[in-house]
Every structure is written in C-alpha cells, then in structure tokens.
C-alpha cells in the first residue's frame, strides 16, 4: 500500500473529520414499506408527465410518469398500491410541487413487477440513451442529474475515459461505500455497459483510501487485462466534485465553464452504475436507493435501502428515532446538504443521507473579523479568493464579484469550514450568486 501522502489528489481542499465510523461497517438493510409514498414529478431535470390517474392501481416498478423532453426522466412506482393524489406536496427544499402520491396495498407481497430485461449490446447509442431515460435513472451522487444526458455525446467530442466517482468525500456518508463493498459486480457491470456505448478507452474508478475494503472488492471484480483502473485517492474534501476528481486522477484541469466531456471524460457515481445494471439486466427501474441515516441525533445509525418517496419521518423511525436534543435535520452530506424544515417530506432519488444534529453541533460560534489569514484560499479547489468574495458580497459589489469569477464557485463550503473567524463565506457567496442570476434573468427579459 502506498502511503497516504503519496496518493493522488487535487490541489487545495480541506480535511473535515469523516464521522463514517458509525455506519461504514453496517450492511445495507431493508426497511418496512411505508403506508404512503410521495413522489415529486421533478426529480432530476424537467418534471415528468404523469400517465396515471387518481384511483388507478399500480404495480411496484410500473411507470407513473414519462419523461417530458430530453433533460427529464421517467418516474416509477416504488409500491404495489393505488394512486391517491396527483396534487401538490411539500418538497424537501421547502417548495410545494406537483407529486404523485401512492397508497400501499396492505395485502400485497410487494414484489417488483419487472420490465423486460434489455441486452445493451443489441442497442445503438440512441436506443441505449432512450432506454436509460425510461429507467428513470439519475445521478445518485446527490445532484440527481439525468444519467442519459451525459451519454448523448456529440461526435466531435470523443470520450477517452469513463470515470466512476467512488470518493464519497462528504463526512458521515457511507451509502456509496457500502454499495461498492456489497455490489461491486453490478458497479462494474454498469460501468462496462456505459463505457462500451460511449466508446471510452478505459474505466477509472476513484476511491478515497479510507475505503480499502471497497477498493479491494472492486479490484477483485476486474478481469485480467481489462482496462479498468481502481485508483485510491487521498482523503480530502471536495474530491467528489467532478472536476476535482478528474484533476486527482489525470492531473487535468477542466476549463472554467466547460464540462468533463470537453476533456474527453464522462463521470458517474458508483451507485448510478448499480441502478443501471439492475435496469438493463433485471428490468428494475430506479425505485429505491441506499440512504445513510446518521449523525449524533439518530439513535440507530444505518445504511438503508429506501423506496423513493418514503417519508423521512418513517425512515428515521426505522432507525430508532432521534434523541430529544436533536435540533436540525439535514438531507445530503453535512458540507453541501440542506436543512429540512419538516421531516414529513419524501426521500428523493438524489437523497444520499439524512442526518440529525444536536445542539452541540448546530450551535453557531461567534463570528470574528476577517484576519485575511488565507485559510479559505488554501481550501478553495477552484482557486478563488473567498475572503475577497465574501467582503464584496457583503458590500453588494456585483461588478467586482464577477471580475473575481464568483460564478466559478461550486459552493462546496470548504471556505466556510476552514474559516477560523467563522465567517459564513460560502453562504454569502451563494446569496450573491443567486442575486446575480436573478439580475441576469431580468435583464434578459427586458432585452
């Protein structure tokens, strides 16, 4: 084994305590089906078009809604049951959005009614892309971007590397870790399918070296002579950001405003590959995902295979409930996730974790003056100057913000994490960015 400091990584970044010890050794468990599931129509891309009506019986795995346009994916029922509502429900982000609500059939064995399996070798690229879209498959890393969109590559941009993201650099999260340990064959099966359709020369899997068992499991599935490279990386946040992962693996910088495809790479999360393999080989669309339930507020932390649409209240109850001191619930990782105003919201396709924090983690420390100590610069993987951006954001100086490339910020939060004066740097930048976007939109309308 190489020593950690000899391992590859990107430049800059931060080292938060990873807090993964609570769940990293726990096998993925199933949970009882909830009585009701709520599925927002918009889960990655444009909201899908429902094809069911209220009162209709649906099978587990049956298509509820079809993709509406190219950047949109189908939606499937996670339960045997009945459509009880096509109204608006609370989304975890706080908005009230169009949803399909399914009431479970209490007498059903809840077996999946699979779609016919499809042999990907028999499909041309367009048919492959369309089939991925029908499977409702989105990136499971958190952003929930429709997976098939990345596979529709223009001829003038050939794909050299297909890259799998197994970094899981967010603290607490272990869903990808357990997926790699428990289902390495499906991870590689999905990767081989995608790589062959993309015409990629090789497959690279970047895994942070705090997951040695995942690295070993994946390597054991690689056939001799196959161009699949499992690369251990340093443990550093935000390595799971696409551009940082490409820098870590290949030492290349994706130009600002460009995509990985522009440097000949397509990046997917490892969990997405399992969903893809299940869809092609077993006909099971994306109706469930692994969610890490953890944090000091959770009585029984666990990695749970959760039907999409399950209320978070039920998921927490399955994990023993929360301690009375719990003050804050977070969906996603602690660095980029968002706080929940209610736990009566559903698990989404992009929900990697539900975390519960108590007062000792959420207490807001005093803010001190900026010393210009430069720790935020050393944290910023985008090589911006966060302390300057924060100051300009407070002053509302849009011109200066844009001149300092505020829009390049990926909002990873490493600057706020690193700031000894506890200045909410990324929060200020986020607000500034959205006000700049609003302004642009208004100007666009006028013009």
């Amino acid at each position: 084994m190489k020593l950690p400091f000899r391992l590859r990584s990107f430049r800059h970044g931060v080292h938060p305590d990873d807090h993964k010890e609570q769940t990293e050794h726990l096998p993925v468990e199933h949970m009882p089906f909830s009585g009701r599931c709520v599925l927002p129509l918009g889960q990655g891309g444009k909201p899908s078009q429902p094809r069911v009506r209220v009162g209709q019986q649906v099978r587990r795995g049956e298509t509820l809604a079809d993709a509406d346009g190219f950047v949109s994916t189908a939606l499937h029922s996670p339960l045997d049951g009945r459509v009880v509502d096509l109204g608006r429900h609370r989304h975890p982000n706080g908005n009230v959005v169009p949803c399909v609500e399914i009431e479970a059939d209490p007498f059903s064995p809840q077996l999946v009614a699979p779609h016919p399996p499809v042999d990907p070798d028999g499909l041309d690229v367009d048919a492959f892309v369309a089939h991925v879209q029908r499977g409702g498959i989105v990136g499971l890393g958190g952003a929930a971007f429709p997976a098939h969109v990345k596979y529709k590559t223009p001829a003038e941009k050939p794909v050299r590397h297909f890259v799998l993201n197994g970094c899981e650099c967010e603290p607490y999260l272990t869903c990808d870790h357990r997926t790699m340990v428990e289902r390495p064959a499906e991870v590689l099966r999905g990767a081989r399918i995608v790589a062959s359709k993309l015409g990629a020369g090789d497959i690279h899997i970047g895994v942070e070296h705090n997951k040695e068992d995942a690295i070993a499991a994946l390597r054991a599935e690689v056939r001799p002579g196959e161009a699949i490279h499992v690369t251990p990386l340093q443990v550093k946040y935000p390595q799971g950001a696409e551009k940082m992962l490409l820098e870590a693996l290949f030492g290349i910088e994706v130009p600002a405003g460009k995509l990985p495809l522009d440097v000949g790479a397509v990046v997917n999360n490892v969990g997405t590959m399992v969903a893809l393999a299940d869809w092609f080989d077993r006909g099971i669309p994306l109706i469930e995902r692994v969610v890490t339930v953890s944090g000091p507020g959770v009585r029984r932390p666990a990695n749970v295979l959760v039907p999409i649409g399950t209320p978070i209240r039920d998921l927490l109850a399955h994990c023993g409930g929360t301690v009375p001191e719990t003050r804050e619930f977070v969906m996603g990782g602690p660095m980029m996730g968002s706080a929940l105003a209610s736990i009566d919201v559903p698990v989404l396709k992009g929900t990697s974790a539900v975390l519960a924090f108590t007062a000792s983690e959420t207490a807001r420390a005093d803010e001190f003056s900026c010393l210009k100590c430069g720790r935020c610069l050393d944290a910023c993987a985008n090589f911006l100057n966060p302390q300057v951006l924060a100051r300009q954001a407070r002053a509302g100086d849009v011109k200066a913000l844009e001149a300092n490339f505020v829009m390049d910020c990926m909002e990873c939060g490493a600057c706020s994490f690193a700031c000894p004066s506890n200045i909410p740097i990324v929060q200020l930048i986020r607000v500034a960015k959205s006000s700049i976007r609003d302004k642009k939109r208004k100007e666009g309308k006028k013009g």
Binding site: P16, D17, P171, K243, E253, V254, P255, A256, G257, K258, R313, L316, T322, P324, T326, R327, E328, F329, V330, P334, M335, M336, G337, S338, A339, A341, I343, L355, F357, E361, T362, A365, D366, F368, S369, C370, L371, K372, C373, G374, L377, A381, N382, F383, L384, N385, Q387, N404, F405, D408, G413, A414, S416, F417, P420, S421, N422, P424, V426, R430
Partner: protein, 335 residues
C-alpha cells in the same frame, strides 16, 4: 413522536466547522511569545517584564476605551489586543520609562487598529505603528541601550514620571548594528545567536526566535512563505553587497542574526491582516521587506531598518494583492 416537540433549526451548509478559531490563533501566537519574554527577562532582568506589562496595559486600555461598531469591550475576546501590546513591549529598549511603553501600546491600538475600524481593517501592523510613534516622539529614549545587568537591577529611568525622561544611570551601550554602522566593529556571531548583546527586549536571541518561528510555521499559524521570503531577500542582497564591498557591508550571517530582523520576520511581517493573503503576494511582500531591510541598514541614516521596511511593505500590500491573485481553476492567469 419525532420532530413534533421542538422547532428545527434551519441553517445553510456547511454544517461542520474547523475547530480552529481566531481567539485560539491569537492565544497560540501569544503563548509562543513566552520563550521570547523569558529570554528578555533572562538578559535584561525584571525591567523587561515591567515594560511588557505596561505596553500590554496601554493596548488593552485603548481596545476597551475606543469605540468601534462592536459593543464596548467585546473585541477584547478575540485576543488580538493583548498580542499587540506584548509585541510592542518586546520592541522596546530596556531603560525606556514605563509610561512611554504604556503610551506606545495605547497608540498601537488607537492609531494602528481602531482608527481603521478594528481588527482586520488596519493597513499597518499595529504594534509597529505604536513603535514608530514612540521612535518619532522620543528618538533619544528609543535608541538608548544598556548592557544587560542584574535581574532586579531596574534603571532609574524606568520609573520616570509621565512626560519626563528620567536620568539614565550607568552607561549606554551601542547595539551590534550601531557598532557596525558607526564604528565598523563586528559583534561575534555566538553572542548574536544566543542573545547576549544590547538591543530591544525581544530581538536579541536569534536561537529563541528561530525556534519560535519554526514552531509557528509547523503549526501553520502563519504563512510560511513570508518569513522564508524575508530571510531569502536579506540573505541574497546582503551576500551580493558583501561580495562587492566587504569593508562597508557586513556578512549575510551578521545581517540575519542581528537587530530586529528575526523578531520582525517571525512576529511582525507575518501579521496576516497587514500582509498579502495570496501565496504569490506573500513572496513579493517578503522579498520586498528583505531588500528594504538591507538597503536601509547599509545605505540609510539609521542603523536598523526592519520596522520601516515592514511598514513600507504594509502600505504596498493592497497594490501587491492587485497583481498577485491566484489563477482560478480552469482559467488563464489574470491580466
């Protein structure tokens, strides 16, 4: 029942935070000064402790009395006022009257920091502003040095009434830098290294200062590039000048170990507020300080130039930062 019994907090990510805080940073630097203070007490006696206490009191008084936007006294918690006061004290000569030391500490905070809007806003290193004020106001007192004496042997001048100098008892002694400048006499390197020479309280022992600098650098308490660049600048230019004219220009070893260079390098130039934040800026700033120190020492009217070198580069810091921004990821270097 989950979630019904209390209201949720709703904060924006990230929810995790480094354990390092600004007060901890200030305390760490202040604690690193303890060996320097101990060395000062060892060489100059109890008078060193009295002077440091006086300047610290002055600084804390200014921090408490002078208004900023923050509630009165609340800024004392960040620990920067005490640090500035101690730093002012360590730049002073041993026979200085205590009231001058207290005034220096007061002015450091008043003119050096609060006038600009408090911590983080100041253009100049506050401790050096305090010392520069004293140097301008009391040039004789600030350049009167004595040989190290017994521990409890306090000079009469120490207890001088405010606005009086007091008579210096005993003979004044020139610092190694004055001896070079005015007498062309070199002090043995061993004395410089250990610190048994006349000079300001904190600056005499090169050994202690180098160890403190290494400690702070390894602890990442400051940007290591700045001290490296300062010393590199001094070593490079003084070597060149020494080769050109060895009789007039002392060796680089002497230049590095003498006067306030090491103290200023470790504790003054590295002040993050008044130095550039970016890595390239740190190199430019440090090299600039180093070059200015040599130029002032070898060609200026004063024997020592560390204070003015750092203050001048402090003034240049906003300009340096304009040209020394990092190259954003995936972009060409800024014009």
């Amino acid at each position: 029942m989950i979630g019904r019994t209390h209201r949720f907090q709703l904060q924006a990510a990230p929810f995790l935070h480094t354990s390092l805080t600004t007060p901890k940073l200030m305390v760490e630097v202040t604690l690193t000064l303890v060996p320097v203070i101990a060395a000062a007490a060892y060489y100059f006696g109890v008078v060193a402790l009295l002077l440091i206490a006086a300047s610290t009191l002055g600084a804390v008084a200014a921090e408490y009395l002078l208004p900023t936007r923050a509630p009165r006294g609340s800024t004392l918690r960040d620990g920067s006022g005490v640090l500035t006061g101690v730093l002012v004290g360590l730049t002073l000569p041993p026979p200085l009257p205590l009231w001058m030391a207290a005034l220096g500490g007061f002015v450091a905070i008043a003119l050096g920091k609060q006038l600009f809007g408090g911590l983080g806003q100041n253009l100049f290193n506050p401790a050096l502003v305090g010392r520069a004020f004293l140097q301008a106001a009391f040039p004789t007192a600030l350049t009167t040095w004595v040989e190290p004496r017994g521990f409890f042997d306090v000079p009469n001048s120490t207890w001088a009434w405010p606005f009086l100098h007091g008579a210096l008892d005993g003979t004044s002694a020139p610092t190694p830098l004055s001896r070079v400048k005015f007498d062309h006499a070199l002090t043995p390197f061993q004395d410089l290294f250990l610190g048994h020479v006349p000079g300001s309280l904190g600056e005499t022992s090169a050994l202690v200062l180098v160890l403190c600098g290494l400690w702070l650098g390894l602890r990442r308490a400051f940007d290591w590039r700045i001290p490296c660049a300062v010393l590199l600048g001094v070593a490079a230019l003084s070597s060149l000048l020494h080769l050109l004219d060895p009789t007039r220009n002392p060796t680089p070893w002497f230049m590095l170990a003498s006067g306030g260079l090491l103290f200023g390098t470790v504790f003054m130039a590295t002040d993050p507020v008044s130095s550039p934040t970016t890595p390239r800026g740190a190199w430019i700033f440090g090299l600039g300080v180093g070059v200015l120190v040599v130029v002032i020492r070898d060609y200026g009217g004063l024997p020592e130039g560390v204070m003015y070198a750092i203050l001048l580069m402090n003034a240049a810091t906003p300009l340096i930062e304009r040209v020394a921004q990092p190259r954003p990821f995936g972009r060409a270097r800024r014009a």
